[in-house]
Homo-oligomer: 349 residues x 2
DNA sequence: TTGAAAGCGATACCAT
DNA sequence: ATGGTATCGCTTTCAA
């Protein structure tokens, strides 16, 4: 491996001091334009690049941020990362990325590495059920700014960027009710999952508001909310029971995908026999047949916002650095019972 | 911002030398177990973390790799990144990530930053039509190891990890022919796209092998191969023409998705009226109705392999560090014309 | 078993 | 306008 070209190499080649070279390259004022020109040329010729490690060490400025996500091959999260990078690169920050794989110990291990690497700040979407205290504590102790994304799990006043999950679920459920569905089932995740619970809560609120009974048998919980397979099995459970629902709201588009399969097998037409609403507006949702009504999750925007907040926090702005993105429903055909049916319901019921 | 705890802080607190502290923390042999114990306790108490910048600078060991991808919110690439991270973290490398957004200048700018940050190696999927020479040249000049992923565009002997695109397309086309389709159209990308061309080539090879005529009117090119919209329009073009194809092979699953929509609009049943095969085995492919036959692209494996090669290259192993993953077709319903129809073809034709 | 001092590659202060 | 020197936090000889 050839040694990296350093300031000294340039200095020796031109018989000037290292200091002078540094001055030239850093555009200082107290340098002879002539000397400067020669130095710049030499630097170019030798293809000099400043060693960022040395610079950072000396200036005590480590312009790197760390990003920790539960999983990266997931549309929403990759989208968040994209948003973060958009902004970070513009502000001349480098981005270190780590994947916790939903494991708390790995999350903490990555955090350790990031801290060793003197990250200026961290953006993290904590793992479900993680001992957040242990994960975030090292950051707090060192006053390293951090922003949580999507799964605020720390103290109430830790900054976060999230989405109004509850409202999204409320809108989804309300929409189904609005379109004439009355027996609405919910397919959700495990009870320890914040997000799942928030969406459950939104569902309940809507049911209450419109005086529809909350039937626990209509609420099914799966372990992994990212597997269509789970949605399929849970949908079968609820659809094969005596009193079957006329609509299903799933807390992810993946789960909804499984519901489509179950519906098809059971010869239920969507949306006439079974209305479906998903959550996330992932790419799949547009491609299902019929297209899936779903709740929008603006990952890229959230990532950008997270970085903006982080930067605020870095420069010491202590104002409120949390934001909850408003919910928005994207209505497609999976929930639009045809007019005829709606009318017949109206006249008969 | 509170100052970071350093070796000196520990040394001063215990009245020992910095050297001794360093020895204790680095598990050296020449240290009194007693002293060591006390030092470790103190380090723990003060929550000491080594400054990786100082360590790296001193040891001239910068265990960081850089990854540059055209776009991150794309299932295949996020999957590649996942594979890279799996391996990298196990080997105690940090991963810097950059997104070129298909822009050559941005690609080069990220590369510059990575070089400044003394990355030990780079894994890059170059941008379509990028001036690869300019992008990779700075790496070459500094003998920084790199591995190209998916779009080998440099010199013939630059290491890469790719997929046998041509064979994948060949298998896809052959499969369609095998299932009784005869007039097979191709929906591809722009002519400057290597990947698109490789797939075109595989398509042509299969057509030739089975003595089917190559009809240029059956080959449609779109600008963006990641938009279903494009697939939709191109499919309409080819399906509304006088002599319409009985099958369409698209070089991405996204394009295929658009074909589904067009087929539905034109009341063509899949696969009986129109066979479809996609490419990538993205999540969408399982969820389409009927499920899409597609060519597998093992992103995660490729990412892992890329990292392994990079590490080989880093430790100076000069053996062949390129690999082409073999093609594998995943057969689903979109290409399986029903037996009855096949038989009628057999008896009549 | 411990400590003093040099040095990694850069910057910044103080001289000249 | 230029150069010498200390320094960032750590590792690594070399002496003691």
């Amino acid at each position: 491996m050839p040694k990296r070209v350093g300031l000294r190499d340039i200095a020796e080649a031109l018989n000037v001091s290292i200091t002078t070279v540094s001055r030239a390259l850093n555009d200082k004022f107290d340098i002879n334009p002539e000397t400067k020109k020669v130095i710049l040329e030499k630097a170019e010729e030798l293809n000099y690049r400043p060693n960022a490690f040395a610079v950072s060490l000396r200036k005590n400025e480590y312009n790197t941020i760390g990003v920790i996500l539960p999983t990266i091959d997931h549309y929403f999260f990759s989208t968040v990362l994209k948003g973060i990078m958009n902004k970070a690169h513009n502000s001349n920050y480098l981005v270190l990325i780590g994947e916790s794989g939903h494991q708390t110990d790995k999350e903490q291990q990555i955090m350790d590495q990031f801290i060793n690497h003197c990250v200026t700040g961290v953006i993290i979407s904590t793992t479900v059920g993680s001992e957040v205290k242990d994960t975030l504590e090292p950051l707090r102790r060192r006053r390293i700014p951090f922003i949580q994304v999507d799964r605020p799990a720390g103290d109430k006043d830790d900054p976060y960027v999230r989405y109004d999950d509850e409202k999204g679920a409320f809108l989804a459920t309300e929409h189904l009710i609005d379109r004439g569905f009355k027996k609405i089932a919910l397919i959700k995740g495990p009870d320890i999952c914040n997000i799942s619970n928030a969406r459950l809560s939104g569902y309940q609120l809507a049911m209450e508001k419109y005086n529809l009974p909350f039937d626990p048998r209509f609420v099914k919980s799966g372990n992994n909310i990212d597997f269509a397979e789970n949605g399929y099995h849970l949908a079968r459970q609820v659809l094969l029971a005596k009193n079957r629902p006329d609509a299903i709201f799933t807390i992810t588009d993946e789960l909804a995908t499984g519901v489509y399969r179950a519906a098809k097998e059971l010869n239920l037409r969507i949306p006439d026999d079974l209305g479906i609403v998903g959550y996330s507006n992932s790419k799949i949702s547009t491609h299902l047949s019929p297209p899936l009504t779903t709740v929008e999750q603006p990952g890229e925007e959230m990532g950008e916002q997270a970085f903006d907040f982080l930067q605020q926090s870095i420069i010491g702005n202590a104002s409120d650095l949390s934001k909850t993105f408003d919910a928005r429903l994207i209505i497609r055909d999976s929930s639009l019972k045809s007019i005829q049916i709606l009318n017949s319901i109206a006249t008969n019921g």
